[in-house]
Symmetry: C2
Subunit: 315 residues, 2 copies
Amino acid sequence: MSKSTVSRVINNAPNVKPETRERVMQAVQKLGYQPDILARGMITGMLPMVLVIVGDIQNHFFTQALAGIEATLEEQGFMVVVFDSGYEHEREVTSIQMAKTCRFAGIIPMTGFASDKVTQALRESDCPVVLLNCHRENRFFDQIFGDDYGAGYSATNALLQRGYQKIYHFSGNSVESFISAERERGYRQAMEEAGVPVTEDMVCQGNLRQDSGFLLAQRCLEGETGKAAICCNNFLMCLGAMSYAQQRGMVMWKDYGMAICEQPPVFYQDSEFIYAGPKLQEIGKAAAQLLLERINQPDKERTSIRFSPLDVYLP
Amino acid sequence: MSKSTVSRVINNAPNVKPETRERVMQAVQKLGYQPDILARGMITGMLPMVLVIVGDIQNHFFTQALAGIEATLEEQGFMVVVFDSGYEHEREVTSIQMAKTCRFAGIIPMTGFASDKVTQALRESDCPVVLLNCHRENRFFDQIFGDDYGAGYSATNALLQRGYQKIYHFSGNSVESFISAERERGYRQAMEEAGVPVTEDMVCQGNLRQDSGFLLAQRCLEGETGKAAICCNNFLMCLGAMSYAQQRGMVMWKDYGMAICEQPPVFYQDSEFIYAGPKLQEIGKAAAQLLLERINQPDKERTSIRFSPLDVYLP
DNA sequence: GTGAAAGCGCTAACAA
DNA sequence: TTGTTAGCGCTTTCAC
């Protein structure tokens, strides 16, 4: 029995006599043989591993998507290498080069904004790439992103439905973050459709962190009498705002309304606030699926997917 | 110039003429040559990758440690492969076997309780292993765990210091989770030292999830008049309890006290509740360090480290 | 101090 | 249908 025959059986090649196949299988079972993935990778030019680049592994935004990616890829026998870039492009580049020399099967960057250097490193890596939530014109890679415009729209609308007219929007840095700009756009659209004018004091410039949520709430809720609501661009600012409200003894839905334009962490998904956001885990799954397709059909046309399904929660 | 010479330069081998070394370096620079990690792995029998097995990638407990692990390993040129087992042992075993055939440099399981099958798979993997927070007698692997007893003790003590006597403990499943048992032990010890008898209705059996926090709070806080406090085994039960309290219009430190025996997620680290817990990120770093030592000195004696530093927060 | 040769464990092309 | 051969890109002897 030669190596090749065994190889053929292991890889389910067609030209093997059923009887031989059986004999090999038995031996494999008996000896507990497991093929060396490394050696195989050298030949085939592909290690069944996928690099996923996140900006902050402690941020639920990334771990939720990661959960989806992992589940899908693991099913297909791929392992997930997580790289936490801390949003530093230089380090992203290093990790991408590593993926190249390891002949990784693919790369999924999801740090939001890709610099030119990162783009170039990705191209030079010769790896299949799927950009996740990287809103950016590009001619090179498949990409997928959530409907953050819809999230902002739905969240705002839910507040309008409850009769709120004075709805503040705590925005993110719209210049740096396309996602947060999209959410703001959704907010404005919903307001416009409802015929509620948005004065500029209603859109409060935040930084997506808790502290700004707290400060902005201080500015907006002071002296309010229950008719105002806040539409937070993201979860952290909402936490900050709620913290202020609680400190002031304000009760949600009695003294103010609250909605968020993204999915909060899992353990927050049945809280008292409204939220609407792209289903991150599903996007993760879809991204992994897209990557698998690209791996199997390298010449397939490049696709750019807007993933519409929103997780809308109305307590 | 032969392959061997280049190899020697790349690997900083001693026997190379400085002049030659220089020439090679220049060529490497110019051509942007990067050694093939896979091919190297085949020879040396080691891929610079470490498998980290978590129970739930969306749980801050794991991601905090992961952040520390990643930072330390990346510094030394290792990549981190994250496997989310969903607490299923069978799947852990599969990932361990994969690590073996990929000749991973090491494995860090941190799912808490390792089954015998997992232990065996780990042994058969021939990989350096560091158990993180897996409280379990074992003769085979290095291990490191936090001082959860101290966490329970400190959290309880902080409540006692504030004058609370009636302190409920929302416990976890002490049979399955050694960590939660340790926290409970710390609680009991602090109470005993303070001379406060612990009646059995004060230790409430929870399941470490939010729902049980809510239900137990309902049972305990009903009719309380501000003199009772809760010492939660973990963060999620605290969230549940706070949710109940808020619903009832109860205000923390006015109507009840609250402490947790673990670090909450980062964005919760300056909240109003007390917490005391092992510094997860630091433990992660220490675990990675331990693994690196094991990799470099395979014959070093096995160590078992209790990592004492606690993050104690007293608002 | 350097080069030539062997070989890691597999797959792919070709020959039988 | 099976076996033989070459070779993936490196490191590691062992001569020179």
